[in-house]
């Protein structure tokens, strides 16, 4: 009995309730999903084992390929635009002494709004009747009168823009936190050496916040895989699958076409993709990367 009152066990007592909930909410459904991907289950009724048929079908599915490509584009877009803007703004904010809190709050504010609200704001802004579309049409700028959410060529980027607008403030805050940890003496030394603002950023700030930066890159790559809500609300993956992403496609297969087996196969694919990313970051850490 003594073993249970051991100090090392105390942490386990605290972790166990959460682990237990995770087992039921995530663990068992995930395992069930792994099993269902080998069946033709339609969400109701009998379950038939069909081997790897769903996976064979996956490789022939042109819309899944489109969704995967869109996810890759999405990831690249998020790794560049919000990260670039957030880094710049966070760095600039470190130089602001008065009113910095206002900017931090202003940048972070969209992150606090529910995705449905963010989506409705932008949907109405771009609406062809109520939004800017109507205004541009009245002044004769017809090329701007059409909602970018409804054009095949722009829908994915428009959705990514809205999600990025909501997300980048979060990045600003975590980068800013990292930047405040940097020893001020380094900047003072650089000033004495006559370094420019950019040089200080490139050679002091960026290397010093590397753990935070790499962490942000990792969460962006992982969060880009199950991206769903903004696509679902703004475009539903359309028009013509132009903004379709894997999670939305998986949802459509399960809840519109009732093809739960196939949907589980897509989920399994996503699971292994995320596992590979996590494993890669684990390898980097083992290789001595400070992440």
């Amino acid at each position: 009995m003594k073993i249970f009152s051991n100090k090392n066990f105390v942490a386990w007592y605290f972790v166990l309730p959460v682990a237990f909930i995770h087992l039921f909410v995530i663990g068992i459904p995930s395992l069930a999903s792994l099993a269902l991907c080998l069946t033709d289950w339609r969400g109701l009724g009998e379950i038939n084992y069909i081997g790897f048929e769903n996976f064979i079908e996956l490789f022939d599915d042109r819309y899944l390929k489109k969704a995967i490509i869109n996810n890759v584009i999405w990831t690249i877009a998020f790794l560049t635009v919000p990260v670039g803007i957030a880094l710049t703004c966070a760095y600039l904010l470190t130089g602001i002494k008065r009113g910095q809190m206002f900017f931090r709050l202003a940048f972070f504010f969209p992150y606090m709004l529910a995705s449905v609200i963010n989506c409705q704001i932008w949907k109405y802004l771009f609406h062809p009747i109520h939004g800017l579309g109507g205004f541009f049409e009245r002044i004769g700028w017809d090329f701007l009168a059409v909602s970018p959410f409804t054009m095949k060529s722009t829908s994915l980027f428009a959705v990514a823009f809205v999600d990025g607008w909501h997300f980048w403030g979060f990045l600003v805050v975590i980068y800013l936190t990292g930047m405040y940890q940097v020893d001020n003496h380094l900047y003072e030394a650089a000033d004495i050496e006559g370094a420019t603002k950019f040089q200080k950023f490139r050679y002091i700030t960026l290397p010093m916040i590397r753990p935070v930066f790499v962490f942000s890159i990792m969460i962006i790559i992982i969060w880009s895989v199950p991206v769903f809500d903004y696509v679902y609300i703004l475009t539903g993956g359309g028009p013509a699958y132009s903004s379709e992403v894997i999670a939305n496609y998986m949802y459509s297969q399960a809840f519109e076409r009732f093809d739960v087996g196939y949907s589980s196969a897509i989920g399994t694919l996503m699971f292994f993709y995320v596992m590979i990313i996590v494993a890669l970051f684990g390898l980097f850490r083992k290789a001595g990367w400070d992440i």
Binding site: G43, T150, P239
Partner: protein
């Protein structure tokens, strides 16, 4: 004296409580709608509860998408509401195949439900020879038009493709959109248009043959039908001015567009009658309706596409099956009460397909709706009816017909390729026994 009053009051309270306790609860999970819910409570739930002492109907309203998912999960777990409401036969098929619905044959025979219902609507709930669902509402597609505007401009309501394209040119020349319609908020809106072009170009007979497997969907007549739809949608921008605007405009917007002369006509289902009456009906303009125009010589006569909007079934694992049956029988046996509910929605909802005579049609509804109800009965009675996709298409091709239509409109695949894929899905559905009941055609 006080003691007598207290005793009397106690007896009343106790008897009321016992009567409430004696009632067994019947649950019904119903699609929520802010305008409709109070009426359903008053004229369905309360009316039923006041009509008898055995059961207490409790309607639980919920957003339809959430409701369908939660009901499905509950039913997988052997629970769920006593009365199972679904958006159509493809859902009934799934529940039936899983053995989750009660066979209603004996009740239908005992209470004479078959004789009380329109034959095609009754057969839509028959799976493997037995009745499993009763339509809660049936509907069709119509063409609404701004009557005042048409009269002012001496425009003729189109009945053929030539007339449609002619009047469309005139409407556009006036700076208006031809049809008000859009898919924002409900992507399956596309299937309304696909159904119209399949039935009114290829003709209901050809559609029927394809549904029962005697004709391929790759038949040139279907290719031509969808090519025409693509031309009208993409090249001509008949709906809300352009494909992009059609995608961007939702229910409130297209009703407003129709009401304020942004568009001269609207292709829509009869579920819109209440909203139309509240929209353009409240303006200075008068609205009219017409059957959808014939789009080719293969479909020369006016027809109405038949469809089931919502179905009612009894949960095989429900706690109160007797109560659920009693509620359904109350609906089937109280035509006047059901018509009174439908009247409040201008026959856009709760249109249970009971056989009606002309004297049954209420006179205190919009005259256009009265007129429609008579014409619908006459024309479908003559056998001129087509098929709505959401009632007669199995789940997979049923999603394909609207979701992948966008790919055709985007020009990513040809109509031929689209229909080739569509045929493959029908073949698979037929092989798996997933096809839905379709009434025999005369």
């Amino acid at each position: 004296m006080i003691r007598t009053i207290i005793s009397f009051a106690s007896v009343i309270i106790l008897s009321t409580s016992f009567s409430a306790l004696a009632k067994t609860k019947v649950t019904w999970s119903m699609e929520s709608n802010a305008d409709r819910d109070p009426i359903m409570i008053e004229k369905l739930q309360n009316a039923y509860n006041n009509s008898q002492d055995n059961h207490e109907l409790v309607i639980e309203f919920e957003d339809n998408e959430t409701r369908l998912t939660s009901m499905r999960t509950a039913m997988i777990g052997g629970m769920g509401p006593d009365i199972v409401e679904t958006p159509g036969p493809s859902y009934v098929k799934e529940y039936h195949a899983a053995g989750m619905l009660e066979n209603l044959d004996s009740y239908a025979a005992e209470f004479g439900w078959k004789d009380k219902m329109i034959p095609w609507a009754y057969s839509s709930g028959v799976f493997e020879g037995s009745l499993y669902a009763i339509p809660k509402t049936h509907e069709s597609m119509v063409m609404l038009y701004n009557k005042t505007l048409f009269e002012e401009n001496n425009w003729k309501v189109p009945t053929t493709l030539e007339e449609l394209e002619d009047v469309a040119g005139k409407i556009k020349a006036k700076g208006m959109n031809v049809f008000s319609y859009g898919s924002d908020g409900w992507q399956p809106t596309h299937e309304h248009l696909v159904g119209i072009y399949l039935n009114n170009y290829a003709g209901p007979q050809a559609v029927y043959e394809a549904i029962i497997g005697e004709r391929e969907w790759t038949d040139p007549v279907f290719v031509e039908a969808l090519e025409l739809l693509k031309k009208h949608m993409v090249d001509e921008g008949y709906w809300s001015g352009s494909l992009e605007n059609y995608y961007a405009i939702g229910w409130d917007d297209f009703h407003a567009q129709f009401a304020n002369r942004g568009a001269a006509m609207m292709t829509i289902g009869t579920w819109t009658f209440q909203a139309t009456q509240l929209g353009i009906g409240a303006s200075d303009d008068e609205w009219g309706w017409a059957p959808l125009p014939s789009l080719s010589s293969q479909s020369p006569d006016p027809n109405f596409m038949i469809a089931i909007g919502t179905t009612m079934s009894v949960n095989a694992n429900g706690k109160n099956k007797d109560g659920a049956i009693d509620v359904l029988n109350w609906i089937m046996s109280n035509k006047d009460k059901v018509l009174d509910i439908a009247k409040d929605f201008q026959f856009g909802e709760m249109v249970v397909p009971l056989t009606l005579s002309s004297s049954d049609i209420p006179t205190d509804i919009a005259p256009q709706v009265q007129d429609y109800l008579s014409e619908y009965a006459r024309i479908t009675g003559e056998g001129n009816y087509g098929y709505c996709t959401w009632t007669f298409w199995p789940a997979d091709p049923g999603v394909h017909i609207w979701k992948d239509m966008e790919v055709v409109w985007a020009g990513d695949i040809s109509v031929e390729d689209f229909l080739y894929d569509h045929q493959k899905m029908w073949d698979k559905a037929r092989k798996n026994g997933d096809t839905l009941p379709v009434p025999l055609r005369n």
